[in-house]
């Protein structure tokens, strides 16, 4: 069992933890953090599993880069909406 599969398994654990956090947390900020964590877990699997099969693979690495940028944009948008929501008197932990 190579180190790459370990990465993937760690990714699985991270995903499981962040699924727990995402569902159980009430505060919207915590949920957002859980989402970002979960993203990292997915990216670990995404790179780890294929590289476990046939060595360094540029394709999933590029995919992960794309994924990160998308996740960053989504997080940014979520933060903007969240702040606007809180400033208009909304409760961030409903």
């Amino acid at each position: 069992m190579g180190v790459d599969l370990w990465y993937a398994l760690v990714g699985a654990v991270i995903i499981a933890l962040s699924v727990f956090a995402f569902i159980s947390a009430r505060h919207l900020m915590k949920k957002l953090l859980a989402f970002n964590m979960m993203g990292s877990g997915v990216f670990l699997i995404m790179v780890g599993l294929p590289q476990h099969q046939h060595g360094v693979d540029a394709v999933p690495q590029a995919l992960v880069l794309t994924g990160i940028v998308v996740a960053v944009s989504a997080t940014a948008l979520a933060l903007v909406i969240l702040r606007r929501y809180v400033r208009s008197g909304g409760d961030p932990a409903p």
């Binding site: 997915v42 099969q53 948008l77």
Partner: protein, 479 residues
């Protein structure tokens, strides 16, 4: 030819972002005409020459990304162009009162259109993920446009659901790539076997997509988002956006992962659909707000789409074909009817200044066309003839009979009555004459575009053969 359908909306998105404000509105109509024209030309091309694929950048899949246009795809492309065009015409007049919002509406609108077209055409699992994200973010942006607190909350819930859903989908994609080494859908559908990795991947993707499609019990985000947004946004969201994730779901269950899914899992999906029909109808029956009623109606109607899985998996080919045809028709009919319904209700709310169902009395004299549009679209939603909705229901019923699945027969036949129970709430009130509000004048185009959409939903009852014939043109893999 195929990428034109992506280039047009992307280019117009940029134009409407950069051009001075007064131009943003001017370019809408030419853009819509171009888009609709391109979609129709592609329809004709596919109809005459059969399915086509297009290797982007000249890199063949699996190294590069391909676009695939078959009969199903072009039907959806044409549907998108048509509904978007009518909603956009409506939005041009509706947004006159929303000075700031309309400026941001148009870039988001065009990006939304681009992502929809991208999803219909995609033949690559990861590309679908990017498309879904583009779709989700532009939809969320549109929901949040008014910056009012309920809208912001709805947008947040929607965004979180969309993000969680996308990640679950992406996790599935990661497993698939790890197991098969490719992301190209046509290639995968030949290779994918029924092993545990694939099953987990399909399960993950399904959970994510069910969340994005707002299938009961993961529908919690949809009613506030669709019911709270501006009317043209609600129409686009309910008519098109939720269909995109359903399309991917169907693609995964019936094409890519066909060997990995089991009959009992398909029955479970059907059960979710039945739950959606019951729960959505019940809530639509209870809600005091007219826009929420329409939004819950979407929850219920999406349940019918889920009938595809039990009716098409593990049954004879004839029954599966009918289930497919019924689902497509339902998708089309619901798209037109729901868009019409949201637009007509939006006009009513705009004119009377509130959305309380109990106080809708007297509208029938002032806004007969909007109410008539609502009525026609309701006919299609109830599955009463003559309408696209009826034909869809008929095919689904026939498919259930063919495969002897009587429980789904009952659900599909009974669902129409539930729909009737909540839509007739509106009619009932609209016939009362006690007027409890000032009625403001609205632009006639608002009522007209809703009416046109409703007529298409009804007309689909007489022209169902066209989409079904187009749909028959599939390229190998897709059933």
């Amino acid at each position: 030819m195929i990428p034109i359908l992506l280039i047009i909306p992307l280019a117009f998105a940029i134009l409407s972002l950069l051009l001075p404000r007064k131009w943003t509105r001017t370019i809408v109509i030419p853009g819509l005409i171009l888009q609709l024209g391109a979609a129709l030309i592609l329809c004709l091309t596919i109809y005459t020459e059969g399915p086509q694929d297009y290797a982007l950048g000249d890199w063949q899949a699996p190294l590069g990304i391909s676009l695939l246009a078959d009969g199903f795809t072009v039907t959806l492309l044409a549907l998108t162009a048509l509904i978007a065009a009518l909603c956009a015409i409506y939005a041009l007049f509706f947004l006159e009162r929303y000075n700031r919002e309309q400026f941001y509406f148009w870039p988001l609108f065009w990006f939304l259109l681009a992502s929809l077209n991208g999803i219909w055409l995609a033949a690559d699992l990861f590309n679908l993920y990017v498309g879904l994200e583009l779709l989700g973010l532009s939809a969320v942006g549109m929901v949040a446009l008014t910056s009012e607190r309920p809208a912001l909350k709805a947008a947040l819930d929607y965004l979180y659901a969309a993000l969680f859903g996308s990640l679950a989908y992406l996790a599935g994609v990661a497993l698939i790539y790890g197991a098969y080494g490719t992301l190209a859908i046509p290639q995968l559908s030949e290779m994918v076997a029924g092993n545990i990795t694939t099953q987990v991947a399909v399960a993950l993707m399904s959970v994510g997509l069910l969340l994005k499609t707002a299938i009961f019990p993961l529908h919690f985000w949809l009613p506030p988002a669709h019911g709270g947004a501006l009317a043209p946004v609600s129409a686009l969201l309910s008519a098109l956006v939720v269909k995109a994730s359903f399309y991917i779901l169907a693609l995964i269950w019936l094409d890519v992962g066909a060997l990995a899914v089991t009959v009992s899992a398909a029955q479970l999906m059907g059960a979710l659909g039945a739950g959606a029909i019951l729960w959505g109808s019940w809530n639509a029956f209870k809600t005091p707000q007219v826009k929420m009623l329409v939004a819950y109606s979407t929850v219920a109607q999406l349940g019918y789409l889920m009938m595809l899985f039990p009716l098409a998996i593990g049954v004879s080919e004839a029954a599966a074909t009918m289930a497919w045809q019924g689902t497509i028709l339902h998708l089309l009919a619901h798209a037109f009817a729901k868009a019409a319904m949201f637009l007509s209700v939006g006009t009513l709310v705009l004119a009377i200044g509130h959305g309380r169902i109990a106080d809708l009395g007297g509208v029938s004299q002032h806004m007969p066309m909007a109410l008539f549009a609502f009525g026609l679209s309701a006919v299609s939603l109830m599955g009463l003839p003559p309408s696209g909705g009826f034909n869809a229901k008929w095919l689904l019923l026939q498919s259930a009979i063919q495969s002897g699945q009587w429980h789904w027969f009952v659900v599909i036949a009974g669902g129409g009555l539930l729909t009737a129970a909540y839509v007739f709430r509106i009619f009932r009130v609209s016939f009362t004459e006690t007027v409890r509000h000032e009625i403001q004048a609205t632009h006639p185009m608002l009522q007209l575009s809703a009416l046109l959409l409703a007529f298409i939903a009804i007309g689909l009852g007489f022209a169902s053969e066209w989409p079904l014939r187009l749909m028959d043109l599939t390229g190998g893999g897709t059933p």
